[in-house]
Symmetry: C2
Subunit: 161 residues, 2 copies
């Protein structure tokens, strides 16, 4: 398994969709989460900052939720992009997704100071609604399970800009 995501769907997001605090390459303060393929799974690798603490030594749950959230929308985007006949970096604009719902089960305290790996399994519910089941590992330890229902972004989001 790779320890770095080389080709990430977020690198291809259009400019006006690249400001997300979780995964926007244009958000200077954000987490810069990047999601790619790992065989038939999707993968996002992220090492939280020292300040992202719950108790000293353990990762904050809200940052785990953020990882699962953007990994979910990124996984839906990269999967629909593939279904549409595209690959990351081929110049086509990937579909935009928003999170309809997010669920996280915290299984074990997540240690700080090592990269976390989110592994996703993507399932199409219907063409505009995808489910992403995610497992987050710290080393070999499964620390959290997540489920994101991601929906193709409605036009109402852009109208308000």
């Amino acid at each position: 398994m790779e320890d770095k995501v080389i080709k990430a769907i977020q690198d291809d997001y259009p400019e006006d969709f690249a400001h997300c605090y979780g995964c926007g390459r244009q958000n200077e303060s954000g987490h810069h989460l990047r999601t790619g393929w790992d065989g038939e799974h999707t993968v996002t690798i992220f090492e939280p900052n020292p300040e992202h603490t719950a108790l000293p030594g353990f990762v904050y749950g809200g940052v785990m939720a953020s990882l699962i959230d953007c990994h979910g929308t990124g996984s839906a985007s990269i999967a629909l992009h593939r279904k549409n006949g595209h690959d990351v970096g081929d110049g086509a604009e990937p579909p935009r997704f928003v999170t309809a719902s997010l669920h996280v089960d915290f299984l074990k305290p997540t240690p700080q100071g090592i990269p976390l790996k989110a592994l996703g399994t993507v399932e199409e519910i219907h063409p505009k609604k995808w489910k992403v089941n995610t497992e987050v590992y710290a080393g070999e330890t499964l620390c959290a399970r997540g489920e994101v229902i991601a929906a193709v972004m409605p036009d109402t989001f852009l109208q308000k800009k």
Copy 2:
């Protein structure tokens, strides 16, 4: 309804439990979420920073999840504290909770630039496990619904410190 939480349970958390990125008063970089009573409901008020963006103009879902997460554990703590005969600020150490699971339904895009209000309804499942249902409002608009299952912190968390 108040627009500020005067007496917050997080102000009473013991020193070694005050470093949470979401709600720790000792975490300089964190959100400093503070949870108090509003009648029979619990309330947390928080205005995300400008960088906490999903799309420009809208709040990032991971920050919404963070608000619901710490509001959930804070609500469980303040409710069990009351059940134990204590009030915020009476000098007694409140019970410590961790998040077992977190669920968020994103109902409407959440506008940036105004304070968000999380209102919680707390239910005891058993003495060490509490459920907190939360509604997050931006002004009069219900933007998200959340559910947290909070558990009294197991000793294993402190052993690893």
